[in-house]
């Protein structure tokens, strides 16, 4: 009888130990892998340049589609630039600024980089 109780207690202890190990492992995986995956996938958060394309566009009563067609890109790209999800390349920034008849600094806000 004593042996059975002892064996049961041992089993319970072993199960608890395994559970604890699994929990620790999961925590370690979550703490290590999620940031790695995040850093692998997330787009560079360093450069999130604000723009006033939306205001300029609205002042000229232009749709995103029309602006995209003029500067040789897609509507989705214009949306992403306006929202700040995507930073335009230098040629595209130049094209947009040139289209509005302004300089790049007047269209894109580089104050965060300066700071």
């Amino acid at each position: 009888m004593y042996h059975i109780i002892n064996a049961n207690a041992k089993c319970r202890f072993r199960d608890l130990f395994y559970l604890l190990v699994c929990k620790v492992r999961l925590t370690i995986y979550a703490k290590c892998t999620i940031p790695i995956l995040h850093s692998m996938l997330v787009i560079s958060e360093v450069l999130k340049i604000k723009t006033n394309i939306k205001e300029l566009r609205k002042a000229r009563k232009l749709s995103q589609e029309e602006l995209a067609l003029e500067v040789g890109t897609t509507r989705q790209t214009i949306t992403s630039i306006e929202v700040g999800k995507y930073t335009a390349s230098l040629p595209l920034a130049y094209k947009i600024a040139h289209y509005f008849g302004l300089t790049i600094e007047e269209v894109f806000d580089f104050s965060e980089i300066d700071n």
Partner: protein
């Protein structure tokens, strides 16, 4: 835009050649193949691939032909293909190399499959898996970039 128009015409020609090859394989499957070959997994897979490929390629050819006759659509398509964000997303999802490796793996699997079916299934699964991962990454960037 003329260079792009020429490029689309070349694409139509290449796709038509591929389409003819697939149709030829399907005709061979229907009328020429012996029952023993028809029963093999690899040949069945090839026929399925040819049938699906024929449909997809035909749809693409029709789309290209429509684009060729419409200047606005041609420009839109040109912008879409040369859009820097789209290119960046494709690059980040490893697109040209993943596609090339997947096609090579499937080809190797088909060749190896005539000797050992397990290799064929393994290579096919690996190719599909890497294409799936690439697609997931692409969808992620399309939403977040």
């Amino acid at each position: 835009m003329d260079a792009y128009r020429k490029q689309i015409k070349i694409r139509i020609c290449l796709l038509s050649i591929l389409d003819f090859i697939f149709v030829g394989l399907l005709i061979y499957d229907q009328f020429g193949a012996d029952p023993l070959r028809k029963g093999s997994t690899v040949f069945s897979f090839l026929c399925g691939l040819a049938a699906a490929g024929t449909l997809l390629i035909s749809a693409k050819i029709i789309q290209y032909r429509k684009i060729l006759h419409d200047e606005a659509k041609l420009r839109l398509n040109y912008n879409k293909e040369n859009d820097e964000r789209t290119k960046e997303i494709r690059r980040r999802s490893g697109m040209p190399m993943v596609l090339i490796f997947s096609v090579l793996m499937i080809l190797a699997g088909v060749i190896a499959g005539y000797f050992n079916e397990t290799i064929f299934i393994t290579l096919l699964a690996a190719a599909l898996c890497q294409m799936l991962i690439s697609a997931i990454v692409k969808v992620y960037y399309l939403k977040n970039m």
